[in-house]
């Protein structure tokens, strides 16, 4: 039976890898948004760390609240545990110490990715290089996932990878919706023409634009996009899909009930959400609740599998 310590490392390796990719996605889409929206919209790099709740950590980093300061903090700051670079370093360390279970090619790719990030992420602070560097990081993250999916037994270890990835991804999709909602909450009428660009950017950040268009054959509207990202069960970055995947993976492990209860609860809350009746402030409050639920699912996973002390 799989050791708890090993399960925990595998779980975190997937979370950190997903976090690195998602932070890269968020940065990329926000950069594009900045190019599209007028200055009056009040979107700016310093505003991004406020929305994501990283403002305290950012202030503690002692960096200036300039565009470059924020970008460096998000991408390449080794002192920020949530930066793309730190996430990749943590992913690498967890992969390295789980080498017994991880296919060798996957470990090697993670290692190369980390080396690439250390060398190039600094340059992604500059607009001119950002697309290329972040694009490469995202592509390699996907390569690792592909290698894991195709060359690893889909046994317990793989389920822990899926669970880590699923939780992290759900979390990031909620954050991205939150960023969009917060950006629109200025209430200024003159920004209305830009709403569309914003939601298109949100969809693109999740590689969801094309799939959304296939599914929803209408003009882009806020509520449709939010519904798609919340409820869809076929698009892999939609919350509905992620929760379904968590449900499935949890059930294949021993003693899954406590964490599964958390997932079922979250599924119920999401299903009860009435998009038509909620305003942006309400949506942001709802997302806060979801994030608390996600944290509690993590706690249950940790108590059930990573710290099992009670004899069976």
């Amino acid at each position: 039976m799989m050791l708890s310590r090993v399960a925990e490392r595998i779980y975190w390796s997937a979370r950190y890898l997903e976090r690195a990719e998602n932070t890269a996605r968020l940065t990329r889409v926000y950069g594009n948004l900045l190019l599209d929206l007028p200055d009056a919209a009040g979107v700016s790099w310093p505003r991004l760390v406020e929305i994501t709740g990283d403002d305290a950590a950012f202030a503690a980093s002692g960096r200036q609240a300039t565009d470059r300061g924020v970008l460096h903090f998000l991408l390449a700051d080794p002192g920020n545990p949530g930066s793309v670079l730190s996430s990749l370093a943590s992913a690498r360390e967890n992969f390295r110490t789980s080498r017994d279970l991880i296919p060798r090619e996957a470990w090697r790719t993670v290692n190369e990715l980390y080396l690439y990030a250390g060398e190039h992420l600094r340059r992604a602070v500059f607009q001119r290089r950002r697309e290329e560097v972040l694009g490469t990081v995202m592509q390699r993250c996907q390569q690792v996932r592909g290698l894991l999916a195709d060359s690893m037994n889909h046994g317990e270890a793989y389920q822990f990878l899926r669970i880590g990835r699923g939780l992290e991804r759900t979390d990031m999709t909620t954050r991205i919706i939150d960023v969009a909602a917060a950006s629109l909450m200025t209430g200024r009428k003159d920004l209305d023409p830009y709403r569309n660009s914003l939601w298109i950017a949100v969809l693109k950040s999740l590689s969801a634009y094309q799939m959304y268009r296939q599914q929803v054959r209408r003009r882009i509207v806020d509520r449709d996009v939010i519904s798609f990202l919340m409820f869809d069960t076929r698009f892999p970055r939609a919350i509905g899909y992620c929760l379904g995947e968590l449900d499935h993976s949890l059930r294949s492990l021993p003693r899954y009930e406590p964490p599964l209860r958390g997932v079922l609860r979250l599924q119920r809350i999401v299903a009860d959400l009435d998009i038509a009746a909620i305003d942006l402030a309400g949506l942001r409050a709802f997302i806060d609740t979801m994030q608390l639920d996600l944290a509690s699912i993590h706690r249950q996973i940790s108590l059930t599998w990573f710290l099992p002390d009670a004899p069976t």
């Binding site: 492990l253 003693r255 059930t304 004899p311």
Partner: protein, 468 residues
Amino acid sequence: MITGGGRARPHAREVTRYLSSLSARQLGRRQEAAERAISEMGVTFTVYSEGQNIDRAWPFDIIPRTVSASEWQRVEHGLQQRLTALNAFVDDVYNDQRIVKDGKVPAELLETSENYLPECVGIRPPHGAWAHICGSDLVRDADGTIYVLEDNLRVPSGVSYMLENRIVTKQVFPELFSRNRILPVDDYPSQLFDTLASLSPRPLDYPVVVVLTPGIYNSAYFEHSYLAQSMGVALVEGGDLTVGDDDCVYMRTIAGLERVDVIYRRVNDTFLDPECFRPDSLLGVPGLMRAWRAGNVGIANAPGAGVADDKLVYAFVPDIIRYYLDEEPVLPNVPTLACVRDDERDRVLADLDNLVVKPVNESGGYGMLIGPMATRKAVAQFRRLIKTNPRNYVAQPVLSLSTAPTLIGGTLSPRHLDLRPFTLHGERQFVTAGGLTRVALVEGSLVVNSSQGGGSKDTWIVQSGDES
């Protein structure tokens, strides 16, 4: 491999003929292929120095070292004899101490040994075996005699490299394997598993065996992980294990606590159990000694087994063999002077320039003085060390270690080497066919340890045509 007259020994003829038919460029290409294979297979060892731990590629020389099967039979017999006697000795030391009462070994030899653990007194492990895995260092002298230089009974390492070296050599010289009868080595992991399984306190078909490692920063972590994988058992750290109120050992798994039957520990004695030994150890498992003493878990090698690989005890091994087995030793010891004896210490101090001085408790070639090559300062320092703490030092003559052809800078040059075979002792005994050959890559050097720039070779036990 080559006789003094420059002619190949019979069993090595075929290999020698083939190797000399290859050009320097061809040899170079084979060496490159080997290095590529090693880096791709991720065969590494970890070096402590340089401020951090660094994984280095395993240094490997493609030219195999050959030993004839008929000679090996004798070595194998000698190793089995030696380990049988050493285990009888350890069992006796922790129980009746007959050998001391009979005056064959002085009592203070045990009492002053750092590796003697009072916590082990009165224990009778299964099969009378304490050292289940022994790595013996053998050297061949100029006259061809094979000596035992050291018995490593605590946590000997190197066997994974023996296995990997064979895999690489098969890729580099496949044609030689089809033309020669070379004894295989790859059954070691299953032999090891059987040995460990025979220590299980529960009569099960599939006892739960684990490998206990100090963790990823240990220099032999590669080997720990390799052996766990090839035996198909869990690789655990101290924190993964816990001892219950029932004095049984459990590991923390995702399904809860699972009982562990046998621990192949690669953690040193004093780190095993903070309740018993070093209270600051985070590598061990609190209560492990309690569980072992209660007979609820097998530990290999058993705690306290190191009492027999003290380099001072080494000097007594021929007597130990005669005492317990009533046989003459098959493999001789290197003549050893124990500085704890006044007359022998005087001889050592008078002849420091010509002797090898070893601290009794170090391994890995650390803390040694090689008299003929040492600076005056080093010799003076050892003179002081020996006078201050004579119990801690033994001295041996410098052996003119045998050499074997080694690929250096594109050409074959002779380099000194030793050999570490591994002997298993549980319900039954087993000796690897060959072992890990370590080679000093610097011309004239006698230091073969990989941590100090040594390399390694595959070792071939070759059956000649007329043997079967």
